[in-house]
Amino acid sequence: MGYWKEIVEGGWSLVEGMRVTVRRLWRPVVTVQYPRKQLNLSPAYRGHIELRLFADTGTHKCIACGACQRACPSHVIRVQGIKPHMKSPKKATHYFIDFSRCSLCGLCVETCPTQTLQYSREYELEGDSRWSSVVDLIARQEQSRS
């Protein structure tokens, strides 16, 4: 390419590029000013897990079988339960999760035999220490119900 030809063609390419930029100035804004305006969460959004409230019993259906505890790759979950009577089914008393180590893979939700686990839709979480992310889901549910 000749020297002058390159200058002309190169200069024109810059004008073309500038034209794209200028045209974009009149397009609608695509960003959202986050804290003032929020987008809708996707229907499949995976937040940390929580216990589902069943309408028929008014509580969760966790039987403390520990399937989620065994399925979890990061050992995030710890479930404790008791059998109130010898013949009654086991009932969960504590359900601890350490959300700071959770990788949100969803294996616990998939393995739950009573479908009592679900993803929460919380995404604005904060804490002042790493222990803030350790939550007893059953205590939390009791608290929110009372």
Partner: protein
């Protein structure tokens, strides 16, 4: 072949430490550059800053539990790594996958490939000093993330695939959104070409810069768009078709020179080819048939033996090598990643080039460091 360069006088060599936190090294990569003035005498990539031991983790957890790890190696094409791992274990344990699930996986994987290339496009042009295309590319990429977020529930580390299918079915809205996105992306290509491809500054920064010769590429095991830019039409999707890739009509874009401009062109053309694959998959996807093979046990134990499965990630040939001793945990889990080989060709390519070009070459090779360090 690398340019012959006279050995410099020892006292003139200046060692420049590029990285590990340099803005243009795409992650924690450190390259020790020995400089003779502006020219590079020796380049020595230093790895391991992002090592998390994924391969070892694979050995102390079950096959199912390793799935979330796979999308954390190459976080820009996590779904492709998920897909590959699912395919490897399915091949190992002989699991059938419903046809609909295969189509869903293919569509999502190709969408992820486009998003990875779009991010590369944006960051590469930004490395070269152009900030605006980065914003446009991210605008498009955001659309893909929205689509994938709708079905997978996350934006980057998907862990969407399961052995025998995917964890969630797609709906009509997903298909509509994908169709709309492809039309939108195609209309954007002309903008990209006007803004970047034809730009004289961009052309001068990339043409005949960082030329990888086919022979050099073979020696170092370079794969993916970097290899195709050298003129070798090698793509695992065509050479050893897996999943449904043998049924789709698409081409392998190749370059001629193997320079940074060719690598750029190949990647842009690949986005168009991915669009074609997605279109065909959308048209042929069966309405029913299930999205997951429910008969797969949660404590999956493949038979004793080993499996090697290669697939094409956004950066080239990626492979899982799994050895089973008949227990629910793999005895050995090895992952062949393309960026490792692609990065080491730098040692040869950077010799004799200038420092400013090093950034251009490093960007054009498109390495993802967590994938190398894994």
């Amino acid at each position: 072949m690398p340019k012959p360069i006279a050995p410099p006088a020892v006292d003139r060599v200046y060692t420049l430490n590029l990285g590990p936190q340099h803005p243009s090294t795409h992650g924690v990569l450190r390259v020790l550059l020995d400089l003779d003035g502006e020219f590079i005498v020796k380049a020595d990539p230093v790895l391991g800053y992002g090592h998390r031991g994924h391969e070892k983790m694979g050995e102390n957890r079950t096959y199912k539990q390793f799935m979330p790890n796979t999308s954390r190696m190459d976080y820009l094409s996590g779904l492709l790594f998920n897909h590959g791992f699912a395919l490897a274990v399915e091949k190992f344990a002989g699991i059938d996958v419903p046809l609909r699930a295969k189509y869903i996986r293919t569509i999502c994987a190709e969408l992820n490939r486009i998003s990875s290339h779009l991010l590369w496009f944006g960051t590469y042009v930004m490395d070269l000093g152009g900030f605006t295309p980065f914003l446009y590319a991210f605008d498009d990429r955001e659309n893909i993330l929205d689509i994938l977020d709708r079905v997978t529930g996350s934006r980057l580390t998907y862990s969407y695939c399961r052995f025998g299918g995917v964890c969630q079915d797609v709906d009509e809205t997903f298909l509509e959104m994908t169709k709309t996105f492809i039309d939108r992306l195609r209309s954007r290509f002309s903008d990209y070409h006007n803004l970047v491809t034809k730009n004289i500054i961009f052309i001068h920064r990339t043409r005949n810069v960082g030329v990888i010769h086919p022979e050099q590429a073979r020696q170092f095991g370079v794969t993916g768009p970097n290899l195709r830019a050298c003129g070798i039409p090698f793509d695992v999707r065509k050479m050893e078709p897996y999943e449904l890739y043998d049924q789709f009509d698409f081409e392998i874009p190749t370059g001629t020179n193997g320079d940074a401009l060719d690598r750029y062109n190949v990647r842009l053309e690949e986005m168009e080819q991915s669009c074609r694959i997605i279109e065909q998959a959308l048209a042929r996807m069966p309405k029913g048939g299930g999205y997951l093979n429910r008969s797969v046990s949660s404590r999956l134990t493949p038979p004793k033996g080993e499996v090697y499965f290669a697939f094409e990630s956004a950066r080239g040939l990626t492979a899982y090598y799994l050895v089973s001793d008949g227990s629910p945990h793999p005895y050995r889990c090895h992952i062949r990643v393309p960026s490792f080989s692609n990065l080491h060709v730098l040692v040869d390519v950077l010799r004799g080039t200038m420092v400013a070009d090093a950034i251009s070459i490093l960007g054009s090779i498109d390495v993802v460091i967590p994938e190398i360090d894994r």
